[in-house]
């Protein structure tokens, strides 16, 4: 399953900073629409029985797998001055 939200938190020593909630679930439909031409290319290659089709399909599946696997990633770096936290869920 693709990640649904990401959080980026940056804090300075005064406690001020940025706390961003990024709704990734809004990004996927847009990305899907942008990828529609790619689906057309895949369809055409399938019709032409091109030998590049398996490579393209495995690349698409690898990219989707990589995006889906991002879920759960967490990076938290903190010192006396600043705090940076990135989470993807």
């Amino acid at each position: 399953m693709l990640p649904m939200k990401a959080r980026v938190l940056v804090k300075d020593p005064n406690g001020k900073g940025v706390n961003l909630w990024l709704p990734l679930f809004l990004l996927w439909p847009v990305l899907f629409i942008l990828c529609l031409p790619l689906l057309l290319v895949i369809g055409l290659l399938r019709i032409c029985r091109s030998n590049k089709l398996p490579k393209i399909l495995s690349l698409v599946s690898a990219v989707l797998g990589l995006l889906a696997a991002l879920r759960g990633l967490m990076v938290d770096i903190e010192d006396n001055d600043t705090k940076l936290k990135i989470t993807i869920n």
Binding site: L59, L66, A69, R71, G72, D76, D79, N80
Partner: protein, 136 residues
Amino acid sequence: MEHKTKILAMLAEGKIDVSEAEKLLNAVDSKESPKREFSETAQRFFNILIDSKKDEGTRVKIKVPLRLIKAGMKFASLIPEESRKKIQIAMRDKGINFDLNELDSLNVDELLDALQTLEVAVNDSETSETIRIFCA
């Protein structure tokens, strides 16, 4: 477990016979098994914890899903041969001797299996730095 005890109690009381008890126990087992599968396949993370008390008290906590490592390796295996060579040369120049050609699905699974039992703990008293690498 509670269901099984009830079934056995019903059998002891003579409310059901052995064949009925067997059927019920099988039904309970089939209901319980998906839970077990879930816990076995639950997401595991590769954790890196660095705690330095010396400089500015830097604390680093990185949690990478093992699935991401696997997906990354799968992605790396799709890199064309020519680009692989270039990457390899660049990595060698940086002092990293790693052969990308050795990355196939079998190696990835073996590596992930090995990672699941990995636990490294380094405690440096001179720099007051603690590094922990483990899977959980």
